[in-house]
Amino acid sequence: MSKTTTDTSAAEEQDLGAAGSQLSTAPVETAMPGSFGGNRKPGLTGWLAWTGREALGWARWMWRQLTSMRVALMLLFLLSLGAVPGSLIPQSGTDALKVSEFQAAHKTLGPIYQKLGLFHVYGSAWFGAIYVLLFVSLIGCIIPRTWQFVGQLRGRPPGAPKRLNRLPAYATWRTAAEPEQVREVALTVLKKRRFRAHIAGDAVAAEKGYLRETGNLLFHLALIVMLIAFAWGQLFKSEGDKLIVEGDGFSNTLTQYDDFKSGNLFSDDDLVPFSFNLKNFVGTYERTGPNRGTPRTFQADITYSLGAYGKAKKHTIKVNEPLEIGDSKVYLVSHGYAPVVTVRDGKGNVVFHQAVPMLPIDSNVTSQGAIKVLDGYKNAQGVAEQLGFAAVFVPTYAKSSGTMFSQYPGLDYPVLNVTGYHGDLGVNAGIPQNVYQLETKNLKQFKDSKGNILKQQLLPGETMTLPNGAGSITFDKQIKEWAGFQVVQQPGTDWALAGALTAILGLAGSLFIQRRRVWVRATTGDDGSTVVEMAGLGRSESAKLPEELGDLAALVHDRAPTKTDDEPSVPPEGAEQQ
């Protein structure tokens, strides 16, 4: 507080308050009473009236609370706090496997977490409650602010307070020019500087920086647009995975997917009709250096066509470059090898010949998989049986390592390790089965003549013969590659992006633009000369405000210069000289 406190200061504060009012439309905190019913008259009508008033009063009180800055602040803080557990506890949405591991490891904590929704925080009721309340609060805040702002835009900047020298920035001088002339000059100068200005009484009132408020409202509106777009996307989205071996194809129908997830309001008809074939997959890896084996490029060359009879077009999908077809995007998400295997029965008839995709288990693409011969095979006795082979594939085998772990992800020295079973694969029961694993419950493992488990490492072109005329399995010289694709449809993405960009624009406006008022008063002084007073007021104290006022004062001063026979400036009364 300045040293020049006088007993008139209270009145002046009020005067200044009016001048500084509505520099922003930020909500003003007002106290509200706790009960609204007043006196309760006897009888039923009295009770009804009392209850009605009370209920309405409380409802209004709650609404005021919810839309107050303080509660909005608390909700905002709660939102960030609420997001924390989701990043530390495994989430079923991103990693269901980890969730089940966690539940198995924590017998007491698991069910509690489950009850609290901590395995799907971002979809849980309490997290939803926080952000819905926050957005209701936001809407309740910005609607009245918008009206208020529209009112300010239609109105004019408020008139000058009585004592300009009490404002944060102030300048004064005496001039020979007439007061009307000075006001006209000031009006022109201010308008040229793009202030909204008008003459009110003996002073010019001007205001600038309305874009701050515009930006602020725009930013909050954009947040609402983003939330709606995100929610829309979650409700109507679909996401499916499909593994395709080179040469094979896919058409976008539900039955073709290996795995499919969708939002609550998604319907199968929403799938964009298209199909594509994987022609070739290329993966290259670092050859030398400490990061040997680190992937360098992954790309899938495909041909795709829209609709049932569309013309086929060529395209290359890379990791960061999905294929866009209508609302669908096709991403390249994984890859691996699919060695071509031929199985023959005891008579030499081919009963199985196809590329078998293997699932990578490490970064050097050591892979495992299962070769399942479901039908067409008869054993040496002529009885129909099923065959199964558990296989481990390594693209680069190293004899020196002695293990079936790949040394490099490229195809330098491919080896396929197989061991065979016969009997019932268990697929006929209709229970879904992992295609990369054998269900060995009803299977018997082949053994060699010495009674040991039959297991062999095959190089391309080599064959393992099964005992007792049961046939053979050949690792063909051809090794195909497969690519995993994810097909995603998420409507509302464009809206979310537009909202996000608008939010940045609005934010920049609301943070970088200062809203400020300038008044120029010209009155006839005691000696007959004109006293010019200029003052500026901003919403917050800013170093720029006095600078700008100085510039404006210099401009006005140029055309209404200091009276030459006078002191160059008069010490402003009341203000301290610091």
Binding site: E29, S80, A169, T297, L497, L511, A554
Partner: protein, 360 residues
């Protein structure tokens, strides 16, 4: 190994040497800043005088203008602008800075700034050599992120100095943490230079990661301001209520800018970079949309970026709300910066997720 690879390895070694050299120079700068603070604590008189001249300099903010008249040049004074502090705020003048008006202290301060400039140039060359050795932006792993981060933080500080902002008091605190940052980088996080995995092959790397680094550096400068504001504010409160702070606290606090100005400084810094942080998250979302098939998936890094964003939004709102202004808002700003730090170190080391590349 081909010739190109050999050159690259050579450049990588050059980069390492430059980073170590910059650490040595930062250490010298650190000592010089210490000397500045030490010598500055000597003279009480010099400090009081400087405080007075400091206040006088504030008044002279409006320069005189030369007005050309038709009859000749007459020097007329431009109307003086009188600045008043808002009612209710303390009218405390800014401290004179670490040197406390002491001549020798000031000399050491200047030496410290010069050494910081030198160290900055050496470190920047180190970062550029690293970039040249891998032929890409040097932001592929935590080591590279760290060395770029401290370079940018020092760059922000030097830029503010260049624009004649009163920020020399930041020097000691900044250089201390830069040394810590580089220490962690060369010992714990060091990764030999190499190429990027395919997921990072995108021009969004340049946009998303560079803005993330700039935001971190600027948030950091803001956090230092906030922390000093809290100290200075309680010091001023103690003085105002008639208490007598300890000799060391007085010696240090007296030389810092006024708490109101420290608060304003950190608010400006944080508010200026908040839209950029918003942009960083959005740029990340756009990249995620093309690389991972969704623009928002609550990956730990994304979640913590969001938490940091909300925490800074909280701070900006709190500062404009009665009853939250000042200390409470400052605590929020520190929490927000804590979120940023956790998002960088904590998420990479303890949580993992899709932002893990090249080991960490």
């Amino acid at each position: 190994m081909n010739l190109a690879a050999a050159t690259n390895e050579h450049l990588a070694n050059v980069s390492n040497t430059l980073i170590y050299s910059s650490m040595a120079v930062y250490t010298l700068a650190f000592l010089a800043y210490i000397a500045e603070w030490t010598f500055g604590s000597r003279s009480k008189i010099g400090r009081t005088a400087a405080a007075l001249t400091g206040a006088a300099a504030k008044k002279a903010a409006a320069p005189a203008v030369t007005v050309q008249n038709a009859g000749g040049t007459a020097v007329l004074e431009r109307p003086k602008v009188v600045v008043r502090a808002a009612s209710g705020s303390r009218d405390v003048p800014d401290g004179p800075g670490a040197h406390g008006g002491d001549e020798q202290g000031d000399l050491y301060g200047r030496i410290a700034v010069s050494l910081t400039v030198l160290a900055f140039i050496v470190e920047l060359s180190g970062v550029l050599a690293r970039a040249a050795s891998v032929e890409r932006a040097p932001w592929g792993n935590m080591y590279e992120f760290n060395i770029t981060f401290s370079t940018v933080a020092v760059g922000v500080y030097l830029t503010l100095l260049l624009f004649k902002k009163n920020v020399r008091w930041l020097g000691l605190f900044l250089v201390t943490t830069v040394l810590l940052d580089l220490g962690i980088a060369v010992t714990v996080l060091y990764t030999a230079s190499d190429q990027l995995v395919p997921a990072l092959h995108s021009y969004w790397l340049y946009i998303h990661v560079s803005t993330a680094i700039i935001c971190g550096a600027v948030f950091y400068v803001g956090a230092v301001g906030t922390l000093l504001y809290l100290f200075k504010d309680s010091y001023e409160n103690k003085l105002a209520s008639g208490g007598k702070p300890g000799a060391f606290a007085t010696s240090v606090m007296e030389r810092l800018p006024a708490s109101a100005n420290l608060d304003k400084f950190s608010y400006r810094v944080n508010a200026a970079v908040f839209p950029l942080w918003t942009f960083t998250i959005i740029a990340g979302s756009i990249w995620a949309e093309s690389a991972w098939g969704r623009y928002w998936g609550w990956d730990p890094k994304e979640t913590w970026a969001f938490i940091t964003w909300v925490a800074y939004a909280c701070y900006l709102h709190a500062r404009a709300t009665a009853g939250w202004k000042g200390r409470k808002a400052a605590y929020l700003a520190l929490i927000a910066f804590g979120c940023w730090i956790f998002n960088y170190y904590g998420v990479n080391i303890f949580v993992g997720g899709k932002h893990s590349y090249a080991g960490v």
